[in-house]
C-alpha cells in the first residue's frame, strides 16, 4: 500500500488485511463521506414533490431487495426467481400485524423499526425453508424450486381470507419523536429510514465478505466440491445464503408496506421477481455497487418507457395494444443486451471509470 494513504496510483498491498479494507485510500473515504452527506442533505436544499420522492423511495426499497438477491444469485451463484415472494413475506408480516392488531396499533405506530426487523426475520425463515432443496438440487432445478415458492406464495395470499385474498391490507401511519409522520413528510421520512437501512446493510454485507462466512458463499459458487474439500459445508452455506437473502428481502418488503401504507399481492408477483433479477443483472451480479446501479437504472428506464408507451398509445392502433408490449419488450431487450455485451453490468462501467481516476495524477 502506498505510504501516503491519500494517493492510490497503484496496488502496493503488503498484507492481505490491506486488500480487505473497506476504503483503500483516505480519498475514497472522503469521497464516500461527501457522497453520504449529499444523500442526506439534498432533499433539504432541493425538495422534490411527493411523486418523485415516491419514485426515489421505490428505488431505495428495490436496492435493499436487490442486495439480497445479489447475495444469493450473484455471490452464492444460486438462481432465485421467487425473490418478490420473499419481499412479500416481509410486507405481509407487517400486514398480518395490522390485520390482527388493527392498522394503528401502538406496535405498528411506535415500534415499526422492530417490526421491520421481524419482517426480515420471517423473510429469513422462509428463505431458509425454500433454500432446503439446495441441499439436493443445483442450477436450473433449484431455480424451479424458487419459482414454485413464488407460485405457492401468490396462491396462498390470493386465496386465504386472512390475507384479504390479495387485496390491500392497510397499515397506519407511524410515529417519530416529533409526532405522527403526516402526509406531507411521509415520503421524505421513509427516504431517510430506507437510506439509513441501506447504509447499515451495505456495510454489513461489505464486512461479511471479509469473514470466512462471506468468502464461503463465493467459494461454493465457484466450485462447491472444492469448497467441500476445504472444509466448508456447501449445503448449509446455500441454505444460509437463502436465509440471508430472505432477511434483506423481508426488510425491503416491510419498508414497502410502511411506505405504501399497506400490502397487496399486486406488488409481489412473478413479474416483480423477474424485475428484481433484471435489476441484479443490469447492475452487475456479484458486485455490491451493482445492487445500487441496477434498481436505479431499471426504475428510471421503467418511468421513461411508461411515458413513451402512454404517448405511443395515442397513435398506435388500440386493437393491437402495441403500447402494452413496449414495457416487457424493453425489459427483455435490456437484459439480453446486457447479457450479450456487458455481462458484468453497470458495476463494470463504474469499475472502469474508477480505474481511470486512479491514474491521476500519475500513471502507473
Amino acid at each position: 500500500m502506498s505510504v501516503n494513504r491519500w494517493l492510490a496510483t497503484g496496488n502496493f498491498f503488503t498484507a492481505y488485511q490491506e486488500e480487505q479494507r473497506t476504503f483503500l485510500t483516505n480519498l475514497d473515504r472522503l469521497i464516500f463521506s461527501i457522497f453520504l452527506l449529499i444523500l442526506f442533505t439534498w432533499p433539504i436544499f432541493f425538495p422534490l414533490n411527493r411523486t418523485y420522492m415516491l419514485v426515489v423511495d421505490n428505488i431505495l426499497v428495490a436496492v435493499i431487495a436487490v442486495l439480497g438477491l445479489n447475495l444469493v444469485t450473484g455471490f452464492a451463484g444460486l438462481i432465485s426467481i421467487g425473490h418478490a415472494a420473499f419481499v412479500g413475506v416481509g410486507a405481509y408480516t407487517i400486514a398480518s400485524f395490522s390485520r390482527v392488531l388493527g392498522d394503528s396499533h401502538i406496535l405498528l405506530t411506535h415500534f415499526w423499526l422492530i417490526l421491520i426487523l421481524i419482517g426480515g426475520l420471517f423473510g429469513a425463515i422462509m428463505g431458509a425453508i425454500v433454500g432446503l432443496p439446495s441441499l439436493r438440487l443445483k442450477h436450473l432445478y433449484l431455480a424451479i424450486a424458487t419459482l414454485s415458492f413464488q407460485m405457492i406464495f401468490e396462491w396462498a395470499i390470493k386465496f386465504l381470507t386472512f390475507f384479504n385474498q390479495g387485496q390491500t391490507i392497510s397499515v397506519g401511519r407511524v410515529m417519530w419523536f416529533t409526532g405522527e409522520i403526516g402526509r406531507e413528510n411521509h415520503y421524505l421520512f421513509w427516504y431517510y429510514v430506507t437510506l439509513t437501512l441501506i447504509i447499515l446493510l451495505g456495510f454489513g454485507i461489505r464486512n461479511l465478505f471479509k469473514t470466512r462466512y462471506g468468502r464461503a458463499l463465493v467459494a461454493v459458487r465457484d466450485n462447491d466440491r472444492a469448497a467441500d474439500a476445504m472444509g466448508m459445508h456447501p449445503g448449509l452455506t446455500k441454505v444460509y445464503a437463502f436465509a440471508l437473502s430472505g432477511f434483506l428481502a423481508g426488510v425491503a418488503g416491510a419498508v414497502h408496506a410502511f411506505l405504501y401504507k399497506g400490502a397487496g399481492i399486486e406488488s409481489f408477483t412473478l413479474h416483480h421477481s423477474i424485475t428484481y433479477l433484471a435489476m441484479a443483472i443490469v447492475g452487475g451480479l456479484g458486485t455490491l455497487n451493482g445492487s445500487f446501479w441496477g434498481p436505479t437504472a431499471i426504475q428510471i428506464l421503467n418511468l421513461q418507457v411508461e411515458k413513451f408507451s402512454e404517448y405511443a398509445s395515442n397513435y398506435l392502433p388500440s386493437a393491437m395494444n402495441l403500447a402494452t408490449a413496449l414495457r416487457p419488450l424493453t425489459f427483455g431487450l435490456v437484459i439480453v443486451l446486457f447479457l450479450m455485451f456487458e455481462p458484468r453490468g453497470i458495476a463494470n462501467w463504474w469499475r472502469i471509470a474508477k480505474s481511470y481516476t486512479k491514474t491521476w495524477p500519475f500513471r502507473y
Binding site: 411527493r50 385474498q165 390491500t168
Partner: protein, 422 residues
C-alpha cells in the same frame, strides 16, 4: 489600426448583444402577455384520471379514457362552463396499484379538485388516501366494498353485487320448475369475488335460487371440463362477474358443446348472464355467434338501441374522430358519464357562486338527490347521491344478444333484495 479595428469589432459585438437581449425581452413579455390573455377569460379546474390504458383490462380502459377525454373537450369547446375550463390529466397505470398511487400523488401535486379512478384493487388500496385529502372520487369499479368505510368514494352506477342480485331475481321471476340451480363464474380477485357473499346473503334472505358452484376462472383457454361438470350438476344458469374475454372463451366452448339455451331457461341447457364488464359489443366481437342469447345488465344505454343516449354518444365520438369500436363501446359511455357528473357538480357549485374546491364538489355530490338528481343522456336512470346513498344510477337495464346485437328487455328495474341485505 489594429486597435481601432478591434474597438469597432467590440462595439459591433456589444450592439448585437444588446439588440438580442432587447428582442428576447420583448418576445418574453409578449408571450407572457398572450398567456395571461388566454387565461384572462376564466379559471381552470384540474381533474385527474388514472387508469389502465395499457396492460390488463386496457380493452375497457382505452374507450373509458377516450370517453372522459372527449367529454371534457366538449365542455371546453362548447363553453359549457362559460369561460372556465376543465383540465383533465389522464395517466396510464397499467392496472398496477403502485403506479396508480404515484399518479394520484402527481395529480395532488398538480392541485386537482376531483379524481377519477379505475380498478377495484387501487380504489380499495387508496381509500385511506382519499379520506385523508378529502377529495371526491368516482372510480370505474362498481365494487360494493369501495364505499364501505369511505366518505369520499362514489360509485357511478349500482354495485356489482346489486347487478348480480338483480340478475338472480330475474332468473327467479322467469324460471320455470323448481328452485333454479345457479353457478357463478367469477374473476379471481376482489372485483370478481365481491358479489358472491352478497348473493349468498340474498339467498339467505329468501331469494329462491340454489348456488351450486362458484368457479374462479384462471387464464383457461378451454372450459369444456368445467361446463360438463356444471351440466352434470344440473346447473341451469351461469352468472358471470368478470371481464369479457373469459366469458367469450366459455361461451364459445358452450356453443361447441351445444349447451347454450336458445330461450331463457331452456330445459337441459345453460343460460348465461353477466354484470357490466362481461358484456357490451366487445363480447359480441370476441364470442361471435356464441354470444347469442347472453343476458347482460348495466345502467348505461347502448348504441344498438336507438335513443337520446345513443345519439349523444355517437355524435360526441364522431365530433372527436373516434373509430366505430370506441364510439359503440359501453365503456366509452361509462367514461363520458363520469366526466358528465364531474362537470355537473362544478357547474352547480359555480351557479351558487362557490369557489371550486374539493369540499364544494363533495358537498354538491352529496346534494345530488330528489329534485336535484342529475340525468345524463347515457344512463337508464338518474344519478343520485346522498350521505347514505353512494351508488349513482340505481336502476339497471337488462339486455340480451338477439341476432348479433344487444337488445333491451323490458324497462329499467332495481333490485329488491339488495335493500334487504343492506
Amino acid at each position: 489600426m489594429k486597435g481601432k479595428d478591434s474597438n469597432s469589432r467590440e462595439s459591433n459585438w456589444s450592439r448585437l448583444v444588446t439588440q438580442m437581449v432587447v428582442i428576447t425581452l420583448i418576445l418574453v413579455i409578449a408571450l407572457i402577455g398572450m398567456a395571461s390573455l388566454a387565461n384572462a377569460g376564466g379559471k381552470v379546474y384540474k381533474i385527474g384520471l388514472s387508469l389502465a390504458i395499457t396492460g390488463p383490462t386496457s380493452d375497457a380502459g382505452n374507450p373509458y379514457a377516450k370517453g372522459v377525454e372527449d367529454y371534457f373537450r366538449f365542455v371546453n369547446d362548447t363553453k359549457l362552463l362559460g369561460d372556465d375550463k376543465i383540465e383533465c390529466t389522464i395517466k396510464d397505470d397499467q392496472y398496477q396499484t403502485d403506479v396508480t398511487k404515484r399518479n394520484f400523488e402527481d395529480f395532488l401535486d398538480q392541485g386537482i379538485v376531483f379524481y377519477l379512478n379505475y380498478s377495484t384493487g387501487s380504489t380499495l388500496a387508496l381509500k385511506k388516501d382519499f379520506d385523508e385529502v378529502e377529495i371526491p372520487v368516482l372510480p370505474a369499479s362498481f365494487h360494493a366494498g369501495n364505499v364501505e368505510g369511505s366518505k369520499y368514494i362514489f360509485l357511478p352506477i349500482a354495485s356489482y353485487s346489486e347487478q348480480t342480485i338483480l340478475l338472480a331475481e330475474y332468473i327467479v321471476k322467469n324460471s320455470k320448475g323448481g328452485k333454479p340451480k345457479v353457478a357463478m363464474f367469477i374473476h379471481p380477485s376482489a372485483f370478481g369475488r365481491g358479489p358472491v357473499s352478497d348473493l349468498e346473503k340474498a339467498v339467505g334472505a329468501g331469494l329462491g335460487i340454489e348456488i351450486v358452484e362458484v368457479v374462479e376462472h384462471g387464464n383457461d383457454l378451454d372450459n369444456t371440463a368445467m361446463l360438463q361438470r356444471l351440466m352434470s350438476k344440473g346447473v341451469q344458469y351461469v352468472l358471470c362477474q368478470t371481464i369479457q374475454s373469459p366469458v367469450a372463451t366459455m361461451l364459445k366452448d358452450a356453443a361447441r358443446l351445444g349447451v347454450i339455451s336458445k330461450t331463457f331457461g331452456e330445459a337441459g341447457k345453460i343460460t348465461f348472464l353477466g354484470a357490466h364488464y362481461t358484456g357490451g359489443n366487445d363480447l359480441i366481437d370476441l364470442a361471435g355467434n356464441a354470444a347469442e342469447n347472453f343476458f347482460w345488465t348495466t345502467s348505461y344505454t347502448i348504441t344498438s338501441e336507438p335513443g337520446a343516449g345513443t345519439d349523444a354518444q355517437l355524435s360526441l365520438a364522431k365530433k372527436y374522430g373516434r373509430d366505430d369500436k370506441a364510439a359503440n363501446s359501453h365503456n366509452y359511455a361509462n367514461g363520458v358519464m363520469v366526466a358528465q357528473v364531474a362537470t355537473e357538480v362544478i357547474r352547480r357549485a359555480k351557479e351558487k357562486g362557490l369557489e371550486i374546491t374539493k369540499k364544494a364538489l363533495y358537498d354538491e355530490l352529496n346534494a345530488m338527490n330528489g329534485d336535484k338528481a342529475y340525468q345524463p343522456p347515457t344512463t337508464v336512470g338518474p344519478v343520485t347521491y346522498s350521505a347514505t346513498d353512494r351508488a349513482g344510477v340505481d336502476s339497471l337495464q337488462i339486455y340480451s344478444v338477439q341476432q348479433g346485437k344487444f337488445k333491451k328487455i323490458g324497462t329499467p328495474i332495481t333490485s329488491e333484495f339488495i335493500k334487504k341485505i343492506k
